[in-house]
């Protein structure tokens, strides 16, 4: 079966940059042109365009049709798939760590027994040595 329509690696790489995340956040509230997207950043338009290209290649955004403006808009699916992937990983880790919890509890139990046994050996028996 096909694992995914998108390249998760490209998605994660695209998300690893703060400017690109900011761009996605901006697009979450509606489509915007390159100029509009560049405005809040202290960056040249070519620099922003480069970021947009990375986002586009990752399938995270698409271009609108309107001739001149070509507004970019957010594509929610790859983002959802990336989140999904993390979630499934999380489940495997969680299952492993739950078992580790149990292993540690057992070790603690054993350690306590050993310590108790040692203490019992060391401690003078509370027996009737008194009178001697």
């Amino acid at each position: 079966m096909k694992p995914s329509g998108y390249n998760l690696d490209a998605t994660f790489a695209a998300l690893a940059d703060p400017t690109r995340r900011a761009i996605l956040t901006r697009l979450a509230s509606g489509a915007a042109t390159v100029n509009e997207l560049a405005a809040p950043f202290d960056m040249s338009q070519p620099a922003i365009s480069k970021h947009l290209k990375v986002l586009e290649r990752a399938g995270l955004i698409t271009r609108g049709r309107e001739a001149q403006r070509r507004p970019r808009k957010l594509e929610p699916r790859p983002l959802a798939e990336a989140t999904d992937w993390i979630e499934r990983h999380r489940k495997i880790w969680e299952a492993n760590y739950k078992r580790l919890d149990a292993v540690l509890q057992e070790l603690k139990g054993k350690q306590k027994k050993t310590v108790d046994a040692l203490l019992a050996d060391i401690k003078p028996k509370p027996t009737k040595r008194k009178g001697t």
Binding site: D9, D17, I92, A95, N96, Y97, V103, L104, L107
Partner: protein, 164 residues
């Protein structure tokens, strides 16, 4: 009343993924649970139905380890590497490469253990071996290795589901 501690997944840098979790035990114990085969094979299993028939650990710097998992259908999955740092009880660093390479080459896995009032915070950080390795994997798009890895993951997850 056993409350399960929250698992945190973060991306500390472009090359890394980190998983953090707290354990109710001193870190020496958590360290042992990561380095003694008889303990490791009790928990490092992944989805239900998988066992760990091979768990070899030569715990010294430069020493090798090899893990193999198997499920009821006879499928197997293996991973191996070398210890590059061992600081009991606070840190273990190993190289790691899956038999079916789906990580774009060898990765470096760092395990950090921090203890506070008897509890241990465990952070496992996986780092790609090089930016080139990662970029190469990115450029070829869905590389076959990656795809195989994800497919296997899907299968693993299906197995998990069918086990309830």
């Amino acid at each position: 009343m056993t409350r399960t501690a929250a698992l945190k997944i973060t991306t500390p840098s472009e090359r890394e993924v980190a998983v953090t979790r707290e354990f109710d035990a001193p870190r020496g114990m958590v360290f042992d649970a990561h380095t003694k085969p008889e303990l490791v094979r009790q928990w490092l299993l992944g989805p239900p139905g998988w066992t760990m028939p091979v768990c070899e650990i030569d715990l010294r710097v430069g020493g090798k380890y090899r893990y193999e998992w198997a499920n009821a259908d006879g499928r197997r999955m293996g991973v191996a590497g070398k210890f590059t740092e061992i600081t009991r009880p606070s840190r273990i660093v190993v190289t790691q490469l899956f038999d079916e390479d789906w990580t774009g080459g060898e990765t470096l896995v760092t395990t950090d253990l921090v203890e506070r009032s008897g509890k241990t915070t465990l952070t496992t950080t996986v780092r790609y071996s090089s930016r080139d390795a990662r970029d190469a994997a990115l450029k070829t798009g869905m590389t076959t290795g990656m795809e195989a890895g994800y497919e296997r993951l899907e299968e693993l997850l299906k197995a998990e589901h069918s086990h309830g």
